[in-house]
């Protein structure tokens, strides 16, 4: 058990903190999300006061994204040119989102508005990803024999828009109008600024399903983009005194191994497995947000909500981590020529 000088009345398990950061780091490295939307509620459940959990979570996301970017860069998974252009538009969108949040706060409806927008955004992104992943998995099974290359509906629509200036991104292998990048970056930024997240779970699906960027490049580029809003957020929270630096230190040590493991998995698992892991993570976040909105609407807050929130946060994290471990084990067995269940074979890259 360890204690932090900033939180004198709290004791937390060092093992639990390291396991939590290891599991979240693995999901982050594999799916390209910062992981703040899992880490913050998990820290609150551990006993961190909410502002300290948010601040420490943001600082952890910053370190996590730097380590992830280094690893993905080494694997050739980061399109720096695309990332830098998107981040300019995203930061502009975030400013609009933060101003909208201030307006909602002045109107006295910030909490409900944020939770409603979060649930709607997550449902839209998660639902469309699940639908598309299931459809493309069935299609890929059918197209194996014919050798057809599958392209999404949105990707083919966007690729037909040729409003100058057009830009070519050699790493991602795409050619798109800068106006399309601006629209997507601004929308993702507004959502990220309003909800208060880094935007990984919006950027990864946007790059994959709108621009047709390969999943592993979307993951690396998304982690690179998250660094900038995370630095800004960490600076703001430090000024507010919301950082437990020693906890962030331990969490980064734990997640550094997880994020490397997650990044390595992009080499041996198919795109479809990343999509399913991201969808599962998004649905855990949806359940958490639904419970938070229930806690806001029901007065006084029932005692069972905290227990259910704890089960969903830790249970969801454990299930997703186990899913990744199972896919990893299946991939290793497949590489060694050992039998693998048929339904798992489409998730594994061939040698």
């Amino acid at each position: 058990m360890i204690t932090f000088s900033m939180i004198p009345n709290m004791e937390c398990s060092l093992f639990l903190l390291i396991f939590l950061s290891l599991a979240t780091g693995t999901i982050s490295g594999f799916a390209g999300v910062g992981g703040g939307f899992i880490m913050t509620p998990a820290l609150i459940i551990m006993g961190f006061p909410a502002p300290l959990a948010v601040g420490t979570g943001v600082l952890w996301v910053m370190g996590n994204s730097i380590i992830g970017t280094l690893r993905h860069r080494h694997l050739g998974n980061v399109d720096f040119k695309l990332g830098l252009i998107m981040i300019v538009f995203m930061m502009a969108g975030m400013e609009i989102g933060i101003r909208a949040l201030s307006a909602a706060t002045q109107a006295g409806m910030a909490e409900t508005a944020v939770l409603c927008v979060t649930i709607c955004a997550l449902l839209f992104v998660g639902g469309s990803m699940f639908w598309e992943s299931t459809r493309s998995k069935k299609k890929s099974n059918r197209d194996v024999d014919t050798g057809n290359k599958q392209t999404g509906l949105l990707v083919s629509l966007v690729s037909r828009i040729h409003i100058p200036p057009m830009m070519y991104f050699s790493r991602s292998g795409i050619r798109v109008s800068i106006w399309m990048l601006m629209v997507v970056g601004l929308v993702a930024g507004i959502l990220a600024g309003f909800i208060g997240v880094g935007g990984g779970f919006i950027i990864v699906p946007a790059l994959v399903y709108i621009f047709g960027v390969p999943s592993y490049i979307s993951v690396g580029t998304s982690l690179f983009q998250i660094i900038f809003p995370a630095i800004f957020g960490a600076a703001r929270h430090t000024l507010e005194g919301n950082i437990v630096i020693f906890a962030a230190f331990i969490m980064i040590l734990g997640s550094s191994i997880g994020i490397y493991f997650g990044a390595q998995l992009t080499r041996i698992l198919q795109d479809i497995s990343m999509k399913y892991v991201l969808v599962s993570t998004i649905f855990v976040a949806i359940l958490g947000s639904c419970l938070k909105i229930a806690a806001v609407l029901i007065e006084p807050e029932p005692a069972w909500i905290q227990s259910v929130m704890m089960i969903i946060t830790y249970g969801g994290l454990a299930v997703i981590f186990l899913l990744i471990i199972s896919l990893f084990t299946a991939a290793i067995r497949h590489r060694k020529g050992k039998p693998v269940p048929v339904f798992l074979q489409s998730f594994i890259k061939d040698d």
């Binding site: 380590i67 280094l70 390969p214 960490a234 430090t238 000024l239 950082i243 191994i257």
Partner: protein, 54 residues
Amino acid sequence: MVDEGKGYLTVLYNIGLIIVLSVSLGMLIEKILSLVSPVQANTPGNDTKRISKQ
């Protein structure tokens, strides 16, 4: 004024510390991995392959 300056110093200290820690950890693990098994980078249309040690 003094408190404001101290606040900015804390920001620099915290963020600098985490950046140094992350980059050092990243480079350390990178070094360990390159010693254990060097790999080729992912490129579009060409999946990664492990370089077998001769």
